[in-house]
């Protein structure tokens, strides 16, 4: 199962990254490139939609953490959309649920973002 990564930016300047497939040691570099690319283009508010992710390992986690560090350097944010228990479990095991904002939907994340402004 290969990894598909696409993105779009909303009018409130949030860049939503849709990830589909398996994020593992084989495919994580692709996601990493996408995140680096977006930051280089000045997109510092990222929301990674994980709803279509079928598998996630620590390499994938590492890439998300790396992305977070990058956007933080620009006072940005990297948050996640994830409701899948098997994926959430991996964030929980590694303590990363406390590091990432995790939302039930893209709309929830945008709502939250508006309130914080």
């Amino acid at each position: 199962m290969d990894l598909k990564v696409s993105d779009y930016t909303t009018d409130d300047d949030l860049t939503v990254i849709n990830v589909e497939g398996e994020i593992d040691v084989y495919t994580a570099p692709k996601l990493r490139e996408k995140l680096i690319d977006l930051v280089n283009k000045g997109k510092y508010h990222l929301l990674v939609d994980m709803e279509k992710v079928e598998f996630l390992d620590s390499t994938g986690l590492g890439v998300l953490v790396g992305g977070l560090k990058r956007v933080r350097a620009h006072d940005g944010s990297l948050e996640l959309v994830c409701t899948q228990e098997r994926i959430l479990k991996i964030f929980r095991i590694t303590g990363l649920t406390k590091v990432f904002g995790i939302f039930d939907s893209v709309d929830d994340a945008r709502e939250h973002r508006k309130k914080q402004k």
Binding site: E22, D24, F55, D57, K69, R86, T94
Partner: protein, 144 residues
């Protein structure tokens, strides 16, 4: 516990793509060996983590040597041993470090892989032998 035989053994060149093969094989053999469906996700992930780690150290130190995965379908446990050929590593020490959610700590090497293995495998043993590092994990089996 009675001595267990290695029923299936997989060796592969240290390339990320073969970690996928290892996950596939481990999950299939675990399923057939009687590991409950609910645990198969954990087997898949933990074996993947151990293999990813082995691939990484082999790529750095001995890219020509294969990584080995042994699957032992025992009477009451399904056991997986992933061995690399890179000695003098200190995986147990690293594994002992608790993963802290503090962002300040994310600058260092988090060893998220070990955190995942430790969190998922029912029983984990990490042995540093003169030949290399052996990560042994096991899960209960329901025989019918």
């Amino acid at each position: 516990m009675a001595p267990q035989i290695a029923t299936v053994e997989l060796t592969f060149s240290p390339l990320p793509v073969h970690v996928r093969t290892a996950r596939l094989v481990a999950t299939a053999v675990a399923r057939r060996g009687g590991v409950e469906e609910a645990l198969l996700d954990e087997v898949r992930l933990a074996v993947g983590e151990a293999c990813s780690r082995a691939v990484e150290v082999h790529q750095q130190q001995c890219p020509a040597e294969p990584v080995r995965v042994e699957l032992r379908d025992g009477a009451d446990r399904f056991e997986v041993m992933v061995s690399d050929r890179v000695p003098n590593d200190d995986p147990a020490g690293e594994a002992a470090t608790e993963v802290s959610p503090d962002l300040a700590e994310l600058n260092g090497d988090l060893n998220l892989g070990f955190a995942v293995i430790a969190g998922l495998a029912d029983d984990v043993d990490i042995a540093s032998t003169p030949a290399g590092v052996e990560i042994t994990m096991s899960w209960p089996v329901k025989k019918d």
